[in-house]
Amino acid sequence: MWDGMLSGMLTGISTTMIPMNIAMVLFGCFMGSLIGMLPGLGPITAVALMIPVTYGLDPSSGMVLLAGVYYGAIFGGSTSSILINAPGEAATVATALDGYPLARQGHPGKALAVAAYASFSGGTISVIMLMIFAPILASVATSFQSADYFALMILGLTAVSAFAGRGGVLKALLMVVLGLMLATVGTDQTSGVQRFTFGSLELLDGIEFLLLAMATFALTEALSIVLKRDESSDSLKPRTIGFKNLKVTKSEFKQIAPTIGRSSLLGFIIGVLPGAGATLGSFMAYGMERNLASPEEQKKFGKGSLRGLAAPEAGNNAASSGSFVPLLCLGIPGSGTTAVMLGALIAYGIEPGPRMLTANPQVFWGLIMSMYLGNVFLLILNLPLIPYFARLLAVPRNFMVPMILFFSLMGVYLVTFNDFDILMMVIFCIAAMALRLMNFPMAPLLLGFILGGLMEDNLRRALLIYNDSFSFMWERPLTLGINLATLLILVFPMIRSFIARRKGGGKPGNEVVVEV
């Protein structure tokens, strides 16, 4: 096992350490930080916006760049959370709980530095765990058959709903189904029959995943800023924020070190669970740290506690790496962002899953090693650059919103050169905006859409192997085990609400509501 890992690491190092890929990691971290820092824009949008740039690159460079963007966007989101209390996305909401008060107390530099150190440590610890566990899981997964894959995809899609928070299960499931429905548009690959194309030539190849990702995330987020009259960026004057003191004392380091260790471990485990992702990782880490703290220490939480800041930062970074485990080993995304990355992998012609380790080791290991490099770059580059990055937060929305819209539309148009795609994006954007206003989450839709085609193929194949019988769902012990896990996940929210009702007399408890 160790030999395989060592040779894999060497493959990864040789892939990552070429000047082109180092530049890609650097560029990805930089762009991710910039985009992630903009209020309202999270890692999904950042990754989706950067995908068109990667189409001209070879797959390993493309994935290396996207991983850098992912990390950078999470770090960038923390910066806007700490400085202006405007989390770019749900995963950095917990960071704002203590980061913003700390910045308001006159220590923005220290808050950003603690966030940077915690992110670096969380990311590094989880990358090491990813290096150990991903190949093991991938080697086990090589024995998987179509039936297992179909069951795994059902598990992944169901898990997204289970973590959707109080009252969000049905909504998330409905969005998964909608995503699967959209995936059926176009020519059926097996029979060659046209489905839901309405005679349009443009729909013969189905809906472009990038188009859907941009329309449901980037465009709608930009329009949300306008609709909600969000002027948080207009009110910031970064020059008035002091960054003189980025120093963290030795005693403060001692205070946050165990927090970072615990939160990283928890974050990684949560990240591995399909559908959980960085948001749950950060909130769980914050919750755990608050529960572990002494009553005296607990009072400081929410008022600028260093532990309260370090925990979610380490947790969300570790979970981000953890979410790569199901993506790389099983071809099933663990979060909305990895779903977009899965779409990118498919677009590069790479089949994600256990065979990726043997068929494309340079992409597999290159990605893992680039994550480590990305963490280092983020630490050594972002700390000194924070004051300059923060100025971006002061770009007025008059300029920022049209530019986001332009880059989103261009991102799709410059790949397909089809003006019909722009119009289709607008239609999807309006539909997604309406669904958002009705409180429906978008990430499950994207997950369903990306897995739709694969799921149908695997189901068709499994039925063919088992003579049109659904007995494949229980005949193989592995498939049965996965299906039982799915069932457990479906029952989990019911058990949770039952326990909450028993504990709190029917009132909602102190639980974390997560938008996946």
């Binding site: 001209g56 928070g165 109080r166 009252g167 969000g168 049905l170 909504k171 499931l173 409905l174 189904v177 909608l178 699967l180 429905m181 059926t184 059926d188 097996t190 029979s191 029959v193 046209q194 489905r195 839901f196 329009l223 306008v226 609709l227 909600k228 009259r229 929305r397 008059n398 300029f399 919103v401 049209p402 530019m403 819209l405 332009f406 539309l409 261009m410 410059l414 003006d419 019909f420 722009i422 119009l423 994006m425 607008v426 954007c429 309006i430 309406a434 669904l435 206003l437 009705m438 409180n439 429906f440 149908e456 189901l459 068709r460 039925l463 063919l464 049109d468 609400s497 909602p508 509501v513």
Partner: protein, 159 residues
């Protein structure tokens, strides 16, 4: 009606329409005798969509955010600007083929800046023109991607 219920109703109608359209998916004679056809997955999804949206309509709304009415949520929103931006995007999609990438993109960006309240023409031009030209240069000269000029130029005999 709670906004979640409105969403469930929309999804119910969508699932019904999707299911009805799935009936029209053409099947060859051989395919008609197969167990799994091009219609199977859409049928299953339509049924699932119907069940889930009906469950959402019947069961009480638990999420406090979902209980809010649409009117309550949309109150005070800047619809005028958002609609103008959507119109701008549609217009951009319609004219890009005719005016070409550079001109239509500059118009779109400057329209967007204007709609969002910017009135300094010089600033708008300085933000839009260099950005579009830089992007065009990167795509066409550095990455070697051919971006066709607008068809209008061919029609007018300029190109």
């Amino acid at each position: 009606m709670a906004r979640e219920k409105v969403g469930a109703l929309v999804m119910l109608l969508f699932s019904m329409a999707y299911g009805l359209m799935a009936l029209k998916i053409p099947l060859s004679f051989i395919a008609q005798n197969e167990f799994f056809t091009s219609r199977t997955m859409p049928y299953a999804l339509a049924v699932l969509g119907l069940i889930l949206s009906l469950l959402m309509l019947i069961l009480p709304t638990v999420d406090p955010e979902g209980k809010k009415h649409l009117k309550q949520v949309t109150h005070g929103m800047d619809w005028k600007t958002a609609i103008l931006l959507v119109v701008g995007m549609i217009f951009y999609g319609l004219v890009i083929k005719w005016l070409g990438f550079i001109i239509s993109s500059i118009i779109f960006l400057m329209f967007g800046f204007y709609v969002l309240g910017e009135r300094r023409l010089k600033r708008m031009a300085l933000a839009a023109i260099p950005l579009v030209i830089f992007l065009w240069f990167v795509m066409s000269s550095l990455l070697g991607v051919y971006i066709a000029p607008g068809e209008l130029f061919y029609m007018l005999g300029i190109l």
